[in-house]
């Protein structure tokens, strides 16, 4: 498929209550690489196999959660077009100037019906993935901890999923890959891709708006997921559930928490999406196995613990 418009999840700005343990968690355990720290004290991180300067920004605050997540679009022309389309749709857009996040071009910020702040941007400094662009090695040496490959997606909790669906598919050009529906046709969960991944962003219905469920990072194999779980126990990291299998997306996964209570996921192995296929539908009474395929029961923590 040809990629145009929105390319991929570009970054997430995550609030942490204490910076030092957060940096230890994301760098030493998850394996992200610190690339920058700005005058406000925000810490910029990237996963090794990303080419842009950062994908996670940590900001110290008195409560945890997600400030915003941003998607990279193909060009400034695409950014301008999408901004115009959002305004025509009725979304209020704010332009954040280039450099507000260092090494990032100007961003277009808008609030989606579930209450979350989403941003689009076209330009970010390229730093490469550490192995170069000519006759590269398969991976760089000296990686730490779980050696996460990339920031993959966020799962967000909030209301008005039908309105989110309209915005993401009809304005931003995403495809719906999977959904969970109630018997009367209501949406309990929606999974969207802007590429050919099983999900680039996902939502679960929740009465309180603008809640953060998790930021997810890709690993290379099931063995690496198990090794990640070993690292969690070696360092007394709070594990939520796993290693296990998702029904939705078929991902092999483990959930855990950063020191401020923000949930992280490391996972491997979903499927390849193409836009000519039918979305997958899960019935609400199968939600247990849809979320955790082996447990086959509703998990109160998965559904109730958010920041």
């Amino acid at each position: 498929m040809s990629f145009t418009g929105v390319l991929r999840p570009g970054h997430a700005v995550i609030r942490v209550m204490e910076m030092e343990p957060a940096v230890t968690h994301y760098v030493e355990r998850l394996g992200l690489i610190k690339t920058n720290e700005d005058a406000q004290g925000r810490v910029y991180l990237k996963a090794w196999d990303e080419h842009d300067a950062f994908s996670i920004v940590l900001r110290e605050a008195d409560s945890p959660g997600l400030d915003h997540t941003a998607f990279k679009v193909m060009s400034v022309a695409d950014l301008d077009r999408l901004e115009a389309d959002l305004r025509a749709y009725g979304s209020t857009c704010e332009r954040i100037p280039a450099g507000e996040l260092e090494d990032c071009g100007h961003r277009v910020r808008f609030e989606i019906p579930s209450g979350h702040q989403i941003e689009l941007y076209a330009e970010k400094k390229t730093v490469g993935n550490g192995v170069g662009y000519r006759n590269p090695n398969p991976w760089p040496e000296g990686l730490k901890g779980m050696q996460a490959n990339r920031f993959d997606h966020c799962l967000l909790y909030g209301p008005n999923l039908a309105d989110n669906l309209d915005l993401f598919t009809n304005v931003l050009g995403f495809n719906l890959t999977e959904r969970v529906v109630t018997p009367d046709g209501g949406l309990l969960a929606t999974f969207f891709t802007c590429s050919n991944k099983a999900h680039d962003i996902a939502f679960v219905h929740h009465e309180e708006p603008n809640k953060f469920h998790h930021a997810s990072f890709l690993l290379g194999s099931w063995e690496e997921v198990l090794r990640a779980a070993d690292i969690m126990s070696m360092h007394d990291i709070s594990i939520d559930i796993g290693p296990t299998r998702h029904g939705i997306t078929r991902g092999r996964t483990i959930y855990f928490f950063d020191p401020s209570g923000n949930r992280n996921e490391v996972f491997c192995g979903d499927y390849t999406w193409y836009p000519d296929r039918e979305p997958i539908t899960w019935d609400a009474d199968e939600l247990g196995r849809a979320i955790f395929f082996h447990d086959r029961r509703l998990n109160e923590n998965f559904l109730g613990v958010v920041t």
Partner: protein, 109 residues
């Protein structure tokens, strides 16, 4: 080194918390129940409790979105960030809500 006795109001559950350990970790390590367990990082608010009566304790950093200054003054805190300095009587306040109430619980194992 001192051990402190932690008692949960209503259930009467009692367990021991080692000096310097947080109350939630002490409960979990002993396989006890009574306080809902969430993120264990002071962020989600699921393990909210109120310390009753005169008691010695300190708390580590907790989310202001979960425990206000006024609540903190009333002895309300998160058990995962609560370090006893005396025996404690606690009232669990946290409610772990699935906001998807009314769904069938899925197939049994």
């Amino acid at each position: 080194m001192s051990d402190y006795a932690i008692t949960l109001e209503a259930s009467g559950e009692t367990f021991t918390c080692r000096d310097g350990q947080n109350v939630l970790a002490a409960m979990e390590r002993l396989g006890r129940r009574g306080i809902p367990v969430g993120c264990r990082g002071g962020g989600c608010g699921v393990c909210k409790v109120q310390v009753l009566g005169q008691a010695g304790y300190r708390t580590l950093k907790m989310s202001r979105a979960q425990v206000s200054v006024a609540e903190e003054a009333q002895g309300i805190c998160l058990a995962c960030k609560l370090i006893p300095e005396s025996d404690l009587l606690l009232r669990p306040l946290g409610v772990l809500q699935s906001r998807l109430a009314g769904l069938s619980p899925g197939r049994p194992r």
